[in-house]
């Protein structure tokens, strides 16, 4: 179970390969990459700055991964989240999960993303032609996280 907060880009393929490398119990690897879109709320994004709360961020992500491990039958999980200045098409986040079977891999990967979106202390500020503004939280993200609270 690994969590990285970094300004540097990451090689998703290499990270995913390393997560399952040599483990013959792994039958399923689910992963998610979040990237910077150039359009948000109809304004063209030129630059995005990702800020976080050092000290809490690592703990919050580790707690989310632990919760995923408690809920789902997974073998390993990785979260990499970038901070600092990002531009359209840049990678923001990678979540990868290995498991014996795909159901748990998919569930855990999505669970981690949904919780990360609502519980990990990251904030996006974007620069477009109108200036800089903090990105608003999305109600859809709260709803996505809330779905994990009720029996499915």
């Amino acid at each position: 179970m690994t969590v990285h907060i970094q300004t540097a880009d990451f090689d998703a393929g290499r990270e995913i390969a390393a997560l399952r490398a040599g483990d013959p119990l792994v039958g399923a690897v689910a992963s998610f990459i979040g990237t910077v879109r150039d359009v948000n709320d109809a304004a063209t994004v030129q630059l995005m700055t990702l800020e976080h709360y050092p000290g809490m961020t690592e703990k919050a992500l580790a707690a989310i991964v632990d919760e995923a491990r408690a809920r789902f039958d997974i073998i390993d999980a990785l979260v990499i989240h970038r901070i600092g200045e990002l531009r359209p098409t840049d990678q923001i986040v990678l979540v990868a999960v290995t498991s014996g079977h795909r159901g748990d891999a998919f569930d855990a990967c999505r669970f981690i993303m949904d919780y990360l979106k609502t519980r990990a202390p990251f904030w996006k500020k974007e620069v477009n032609a109108n200036g800089a503004r903090w990105v608003d939280a999305r109600v859809a993200d709260d709803e996505a996280a809330a779905r994990w609270e009720t029996p499915r």
């Binding site: 000290g55 989240h81 609502t118 519980r119 202390p121 903090w134 939280a137």
Partner: protein, 96 residues
């Protein structure tokens, strides 16, 4: 005096951290804050700050979705704070 002295209530001083939009609205990334009176809770921290008026009152109004992390853990407003604790005020998060 014949009466016994009142129980000493130690003053509680916390480190408050302002993040993202709040840091900009308050013009600072944090400060030391002494809680004046009453039970030392997260709610007391917020009330002390709101009493300053202006941006403080506006940003921390009940309807605004500010969450609080006590020593890096999200907590409800009733949570008790202790001397030296770090109390961070978080706007709704937008990572991922």
């Amino acid at each position: 005096m014949p009466e016994s002295p009142p129980a000493v209530i130690a003053a509680v001083t916390v480190r408050v951290v302002y993040l993202a939009r709040l840091r900009e609205a308050f013009g600072m990334s944090g400060e030391k804050l002494e809680l004046a009176r009453g039970p030392p809770t997260v709610a007391a921290v917020l009330a002390t700050l709101r009493a300053r008026g202006g941006a403080w009152d506006q940003e921390l109004a009940g309807g605004r979705a500010v969450r609080v992390a006590l020593n890096h853990q999200l907590v409800p407003a009733e949570a008790l704070v202790a001397d030296g604790d770090e109390v961070a005020l978080l706007p709704p998060v937008t990572g991922g």
